[in-house]
Amino acid sequence: MPASRSTRIVLFVYGLLIIALLYLPLVSVGFASVSRARYLSFPIRKYSTKWYTSALESSTVTDLFWTSLTVAAIVTVVSVVIAFFGALAFARYNWRYRTTFQKLILLPIFFPQTVLGLALLMWFNSLGIIPTWKTAVVAHLVWIAPIATLIVAIRAYSFDPALEEAARDMGANTGTILRLITLPLLLPGLVSAGLFAFLLSWGNFPLSLFTTGADSTLPEWLYAKMVSGYSPLVPTLGIMSVAGSFVIIMVALAVAWLMRANRESKAVQN
């Protein structure tokens, strides 16, 4: 049933309001980053990109950026590997302790991150490990790997186990089945799990706060600067961080789009 004119108008306005609610705060951060003044006040008297220039020139910012990126990249790779095998255990194979495994692996997601962070810090301490960005990687993994596993498991649930059996029946061994059937079929799930892992690690604050020790990630630094010594570098870096996430999502979408376009053009040619 097509919606009436008035319904459509109401829906449009409603949608607009929701979007505004979600994005206005971000816009204000954006304004703060391009204001020349030290503290944000409307109307902005003078626009300037000087905070961006100084952010790009600052060696602190470069360090922060690299620390965050290294942590997020390692978390992404390890999460995807764990998620791949974890999802197979979660969704594809029947084994004795499967239901227990399914419940336990999801538990860290429901832990408040601050509690999890504190627990991990205490654990590292008792083991005599000095917290650095490396311990933060472990901490992020405790929380992110289960989420990635869940994402891949959803994909694994949706594919017919007979596909692997059929490949075996036609002469494929376990390695070949993994390479030609299981991996390609789980690939979309692995890509989205990887994206989620990266973004969740990149923007994570509570776990990093407890477990990075002397090192600092971008979100931690933003918080520290907010608490003491605010400068427009804070919104500037905030916006740069959001832009970074945005670029990653766009690249992922573009790759997916290119792959589909390539496949379709191949089908059309023949």
Partner: protein
């Protein structure tokens, strides 16, 4: 077709924990035959096919293909191939890539693979342009043919089918049944087919095995099973049937309640005094005029008339509330049938006696 056993099962038992799915199956399948295993769900037929292709291990017993024992051989080394119920076509590959999958595993050169795929597309009446089509763009019937082509590309000694037609609509199923039988003739391969549909089995098979509770009840041609079932289960499984409890008298005569019999009838092969089931198929029961003579006669009243299409089915209330089914071709339809008193007759040559009824 040769008469020597090609695929041989001896005492095959399959247990899942405490549950026994197959109780010592002995079975011989001949080279080049179209052999169908029929049974209701839970009869063990799917378990059996999984053992035959190597998806599951036998608990006891042996399976031989030609002179080679294969029950311990992993599925990927067996020279057999199966068309799955879900077809198991790889969604991330094109039609052509699906069909050439087994050839690719054998590392055949691309040109040779392409040629073989084209041959198979021709064989299954699919356009060669389908090579690059996505599986998701193909219809249900086309997918069946692609799955078949892929299995044939493997060039198996035996081709197994696990109810591949069950998800299709009636018309398409009928078409594909005939195509499959035709394909069997043209390729000369041994086909082993599993289904719960008796109709499907009867149309296609050279021989049929009927399974119940993990055992084989009867193995014979479709015609033989239809005419001479060995048990009540098989008789009822093979379509509509009328069964009467009868006793074989000491003089050899067959008698049953409400059944008038001609005096000189004798029960062949059954001991005197034993109980038996007298079976007659609905199409052999006649509406008899008062003067007409039949070996068996009984009286009844027509309760219901069902139009089946080319045939009409009558449900008749016989003596002692016994329900009798009669089928007539449309041109022999009984006028104003419902409620009518009728005299039913059938001859002994159209009946079959099942012992220990």
């Amino acid at each position: 077709m040769t008469d020597t056993a090609f695929l041989r099962l001896r005492g095959v038992v399959k247990k899942f924990h405490s549950f026994t799915a197959l109780h010592g199956i002995d079975l011989d399948i001949r080279e080049g035959e179209f052999f169908t295993i029929v049974g209701p769900s839970g009869s063990g037929k799917s378990t059996m096919i999984r053992l035959l292709v190597g998806m599951d291990d036998v608990t006891e017993g042996q399976i031989h293909l030609r002179d080679e024992r294969i029950d311990q051989m992993p599925a990927n080394l067996r020279p057999t191939c199966m068309v799955f119920q879900s077809l198991a076509l790889f969604p991330h590959m094109s039609v052509g890539q699906n069909i050439e999958f087994p050839l690719k595993l054998r590392k055949e050169p691309p040109a040779q693979r392409r040629e073989r795929v084209n041959e198979l597309l021709d064989l299954l009446h699919l356009p060669r342009s389908y090579y690059d089509k996505r599986i998701s763009q193909c219809s249900g019937g086309e997918r069946q043919r692609i799955a078949l082509a892929r299995a044939l590309a493997f060039d198996p000694e035996i081709l197994f089918f696990d109810e591949p037609l069950s998800a299709l609509d009636y018309r398409l199923r009928k078409t594909l049944e005939k195509e499959l039988k035709d394909l069997h003739h043209r390729t000369g391969k041994t086909f082993v087919y599993i289904t719960h549909s008796l109709e499907e089995a009867m149309v296609m098979s050279d021989r049929i095995a009927i399974m119940k509770d993990g055992r084989i009840e009867q193995i014979a041609t479709a015609d033989e099973i239809y005419r001479r079932p060995v048990s009540r289960f098989v008789a009822e499984f093979m379509g509509e049937v009328n069964l009467f409890n009868v006793r074989c008298g000491h003089d050899g005569a067959v008698s049953g309640p409400g059944l008038s019999t001609r005096g000189d009838l004798t029960a062949e092969g059954l001991p005197a005094g034993s109980e038996a089931l007298l079976m007659v198929r609905p199409e052999y029961v006649q509406f008899a005029a008062p003067s007409e003579q039949y070996d068996y006669i009984l009286q009844g009243r027509v309760r219901e008339e069902y139009i089946l299409g080319s045939r009409i089915q009558y449900e008749i209330e016989g003596p002692q509330d016994k329900r009798i089914t009669v089928e007539k071709l449309r041109q022999n339809r009984l006028d104003d049938a419902v409620g009518k008193q009728v005299r039913l007759g059938f001859n002994a040559e159209k009946t079959h006696l099942i012992g220990n009824g």
